[in-house]
Amino acid sequence: MRSLVALKILLHDRATTLGSLIGVIAIVFLVGQQLAVLFGLFTFMSVLVDHSGADIWVCSKHTSNVNSAGLIPERYLDRISGLPFVVWAEPLLFGNGTFVTAQGTNESVQVVGLRMPRAAAGPWRFFKGGSEGLLDHEGITLDRLDLRMFGNPEYGKVYEINSVRVRVSGITQSIKGFAGRLVFTNMVKAREILKTPPGRCRAILVKLADGIDRAAAITQLQAMLPAAEVIAAADLSALTRIYYVKNTGMGGSFGFSTIVGALVGIIIITLTMYTAVLQRQKDFAVLRALGARKRDILIIVLLQSLMIGVAGIFIGFLLLSLFLQATLDTPLPSYMPLAAAPVLAVGTLLLCILGSVLAMRKAVSIEPASVFR
């Protein structure tokens, strides 16, 4: 009966219910959207690591994020490849370059050199062409989302990066980096573009055999290569993200907007639910007189808060999924990991309850005697 009363009052007081609902939707959508952009940027930050297919990265000593890795000797490759638990090891080269568009303007890019034919850490989604295009000595890929910035270069045509001749031999699909627009090419061309000394690379990617203890393998590799940093791919990914969050002000900025989103939602919920209770003071007094305990009144307001919360979360997630759908395959970073959704839902529900605390306090303080006056 208490749930029926809670629901009926909500349906009856449409304006205040709608107000509270908007508060919850605001929390889910505003916070969710901020998180989606943040998670989207996360995927940009560590995109090479996350899609490398490697278990371990060998980088220069004290590498704090993948993009700041220094040069290491490529001869490490043979020593690593000789270990029995290593399935494959591949060098990787990357660095900044300047793409000259057909219109003569310059656009900065991050050139990634891959050893063919494995092309580890290479492009994984193509809009046109494929990895085999990088077998072409001059072959590079550009991303579909960047084509407009590059002056709509034509597929198969020749352009310049760092004054080095390159040919567009593949168009990738929505592969974005954080340190610049990603341009993949083969190792030889990358070395030429980036003017990297012979026998040097930025990282060596290592794939372990199935069932191998990763920590033990890292220890063994680290002992073998004391001048390098041997790190699990997942750890390097996390390190890279943490580095950017800490050092770019991004963490504070996103944290602030997330808190603002949550605060706006809480304030709306608090005001509307409190107003609703004020409007229903007489009803609560009647219920108290009829035998409702303070606990029963508390449960009614709590149930209302939960009902509004659940409905608002549902609508909020619907809007959020529309946002994610609309920003899919666009330059805007947006990504919501599946695990984040329940956390956001539970968090919103808790904020919703928090927002209704004032209303609950007011509701239980209503004296049944007031109905007789």
Binding site: K8, R288, L290, G291, D296
Partner: protein, 237 residues
């Protein structure tokens, strides 16, 4: 003589207005008996609402005891008082005070299910029977806003009766009604008071209601000045 259902023993009530303490109800002894319609009358500010709310366990007395069916309830905690109200009391308020969000039938059963749990089919059947007996069968799904004043008050009486209370307290139930509706409501209450297990107290300042009384109480300045069951000496009137 039957045992009283409700007794007040030396009950008094003070109010503090922020500066001074004022006594609005002086030591009062009173007993309500089953099968009796008692009318409590008095002018505005005489203390009748204070007395009613103390009898209804929604206001604690400053002194004295309230005894319900032989049990002293004055010092029970709030949640237990609420349960006593739900089990033993029925209330009819001045303006019916139906919940506008609920339908007629829901307004009646809410008094049975407000402490949680499923409302049984028996309660629902009882609600329907009560509403039918008050001529409200056609209004079951209507909202209070769609009812006339008299209909609202009859729904309120049905709500008050849903838990089959032994004490029915009515606070000026006809003051907002026209003459015809007042008569219907008063006739209904009179009939209910014939039930031998129920005591009915009706608060009013309208002398036209007095003929319905089995017992008449008059209160003024916080003191009962007349009780038709125990007439007071002429000089006290």
């Amino acid at each position: 003589m039957p045992q009283p259902i409700l007794q007040l023993e030396r009950v008094a009530r003070d109010f503090f207005d922020g500066k001074t303490q004022r006594r609005v109800l002086y030591e009062t002894d009173l007993a309500l008996y089953p099968g009796e319609l008692t009318i409590l009358a008095g002018p505005s500010g005489s203390g009748k609402t204070t007395l009613l709310t103390i009898m209804g366990l929604v206001l604690k007395p400053s002194a004295g005891d309230v005894v319900v069916a032989g049990e002293r309830v004055t010092h029970l905690p709030e949640h237990k008082l609420a349960s006593v109200r739900r089990m033993r009391y029925g209330f009819v308020f001045q303006l019916a005070e139906l919940l506008p969000a609920l339908s007629v039938v829901e307004n009646v059963i809410v008094a049975a299910g407000i402490q949680g749990g499923q409302v049984s089919a028996d309660v629902r059947a009882r609600a329907l029977a009560l509403l039918e007996s008050f001529g409200l069968s056609d209004c079951l799904g209507l909202k209070p806003l769609q009812l006339s004043g008299g209909q609202k008050q009859r729904v309120a009486i049905a709500r008050a009766l849903i838990n089959d209370p032994s004490i029915l307290l009515c606070d000026e139930p006809t003051s907002a009604l026209d003459a015809e509706s007042s008569t219907i409501v008063l006739d209904t209450l009179k009939q209910l008071s014939r039930d031998t297990h129920r005591a009915l107290l009706l608060v009013t300042h309208d002398p036209r209601v007095f003929p319905y009384a089995d017992r008449l109480l008059k209160i003024d300045n916080g003191r009962i000045i007349f009780d038709s069951r125990h007439p007071l000496p002429e000089e006290n009137l």
